[in-house]
Amino acid sequence: MLATTSGLAYVLGDSIDTDQIIPARYLVYSMTVPEERAKYGQYALSAVPIEQAGLPEGGIPFVGEGETTSRYAVIVAGENFGCGSSREHAPFALREAGIGAVVAASYARIFYRNAVDGGFVVPCESVENLTVAVRTGDEVTVDPDSGTITNHTTGQTHALRPLGDVAPILHAGGLFAYARQSGMIAAR
């Protein structure tokens, strides 16, 4: 069973690339040292042009000034989410900011793979582009196993695509857990 994620939605457009998710200049920070790790949450989505940040109105920062986590729990986005650089820091930064699930109309493959194999966030694919049906600040619940995202603000439920080939890896919690369960690498 994959955890459901409930909370506020943050809505973004198409082709949000990994430089917008976490700009290159912050990649110098350690992903393990706690005080540096917090910077990944702090700067998550910091390079999204402000007019496109938090649709439909825009102008809504994902993380508040001086904070290291976001008040939003779910990202709803359009096509090709996570294109560009292969930095695993991107799904990591979203997780550090407090995101549990991303619901996008489609993904760039390296981001998708990193999100799954690293067990950072559940990358759900919506059947329809939901960037109009969901507005930034709507209360939503994402249930990846039953394949739904419910918008409590509008009362509507929308379908997600089946998790497909990566379901076993997501269920295990990432590539290493999956490989241990299936006996590919030694259990510990």
């Binding site: 082709s15 430089d19 090709n80 930095r87």
Partner: protein, 430 residues
């Protein structure tokens, strides 16, 4: 089977594979650099133990290149972490900063050092690892977790991609470079037009390109969302590789039974010098359509546009003239940097052409291609228009949030540097 399918079948020990199959492949080479090497090694240790050894240290290539010439202390710490990893694991393919072994941009260095070998499987912790597909190998980018998994096991799961084929027919006009061809493709299919797919290139104009120029085609496969870019090797590739390595390799070639998901055929003579306008690599326009757009900066560098061939092209136009805007020259590798001094147009070295034209020449590294720390050479600083031979123009990519980046060929960048506005290189070639 297509080239990609043949390689993945062999690497997974099967007679055949088809698109959609999930297979575990044996990895020939893993590449990493200063940004992703240290976190990948942290994951490796967390998962396999503090004292664990790599599956095969001789197949791990470590090329620091991203944040090299900066005062940023955290960036330096990454290089120190790589040094420690190389020492602990006894790595022989580590190209350390500040030593004669230092190379520069990893994708170019892989080619120079003979790590790109037809028929092999290469993964790298960098999305432009697809560059190496120019050598007829399967090469793609992965994240730190996947890299750590490979470091421990030598294997990784891959979903076999369908193959899209792009054929450029006819001779290549002298005003075009590989950059124009790939900008044409990306503009045609869009920024996600090849998501999950292999992009195979073919045709007379493609095989007319020198080896390094072919790398510019496969380099930007990722800018259309492609999993990998690939070309069947020809004699030029085989000669290049054999001159650089003693390792045996088994090339794969195009087979009649290859099934492509779709084929696009273009006439090279119909293509014009192109740019990708801000802020997407698929935002294609003919230079003619945007000619006259005011510029504040020009940049020639990166794995896409910092090869010797790019500088030769730029020097053709810059020779004997002066640039009107700050123009930055960043060789991809140190070898390319040396070749600038030993390659001549007429009686002038490329290096002298650039100096005499008023360009700034930097040290080999990724430089401002990805912005980097604020003191990075050539980094966009303000709300400025930049014309660049690099591969990405997403918001903030070259440093400043306010910069608007036009991606273009080295000929277009040089012509535009001379005028200070976007300029079709044909105006100068004639």
């Amino acid at each position: 089977m297509t080239l990609t399918e043949q390689i993945l079948a062999r690497a997974s020990g099967r007679d055949r594979v088809q698109p959609g199959d999930n297979v575990w492949v044996n990895v020939d080479t893993l590449l990493t650099h200063d940004v992703c090497g240290p976190p990948a090694y942290d994951i490796f240790k967390r998962e396999f133990g503090e004292d664990a050894r790599f599956w095969d240290g001789d197949r791990v290539v470590v090329i620091p290149d991203h944040y090299i010439f900066t005062e940023d202390v955290h960036a330096h710490r990454n290089v120190v972490a790589l040094r420690q990893m190389a020492a602990e694991q006894g790595l022989k393919h580590f190209y350390d900063v500040g030593t004669p072994r230092y190379k520069g941009v990893c994708h170019m260095a892989l080619a120079e050092e003979g790590f790109n070998r037809p028929g092999e499987v290469l993964f790298g912790t960098d999305s432009h690892t697809c560059t190496s597909g120019a050598f007829g190998m399967f090469a793609t980018g992965v994240g730190n977790t996947d890299a750590a998994f490979i470091l421990g096991t030598g294997k990784l799961w891959v979903k076999v991609p369908p193959t899209l084929r792009f054929v450029f027919e006819g001779a290549l006009p002298e005003y075009l470079t590989a950059k124009d061809l790939i900008l044409h493709v990306i503009g045609e299919i869009g920024i996600d037009g090849a998501t999950y797919a292999a992009m195979e290139f073919d045709g007379e104009a493609v095989y007319a390109l020198p080896v390094h120029e072919r790398m510019t085609l496969t380099n930007m496969a990722i800018e259309a969302g492609g999993k990998n870019g690939i070309l069947a090797p020809d004699e030029a590739i085989l000669d290049y590789v054999r001159a650089r390595t003693d390792v045996d390799f088994t090339p794969v070639y195009t087979r009649p039974d290859a099934a492509y998901q779709r084929t696009w055929t273009f006439d090279a003579a119909q293509i014009e010098p192109l740019v990708a306008k801000p802020h997407r690599p698929d935002n294609r326009a003919a230079v003619r359509e945007v000619a006259g757009t005011k510029l504040q900066r020009a940049y020639v560098g990166s794995c896409t546009g910092g090869k010797l061939e790019d500088f030769e092209a730029a020097a053709r136009l810059l020779r004997g003239h002066e640039v009107r805007i700050p123009t930055f020259i960043v060789p991809a590798t140190r070898l390319v940097g040396e070749q600038l001094k030993t390659t001549f147009v007429g009686d002038e070295s490329l290096h002298d052409v650039f100096v005499n034209a008023g360009c700034h020449i930097g040290d080999a590294s990724c430089g401002a291609c990805l912005g980097g720390p604020p003191d990075t050479f050539g980094r966009a600083q303000d709300a400025e228009n930049v014309v660049s031979t690099t591969n990405r123009n997403f918001p903030g990519r070259m440093g400043s949030q306010g910069a608007a980046v036009y991606l273009a060929s080295p000929l277009t960048v040089a012509a535009s540097a001379l005028t200070g506005v976007l300029t079709d290189p044909r105006d100068y070639l004639n």
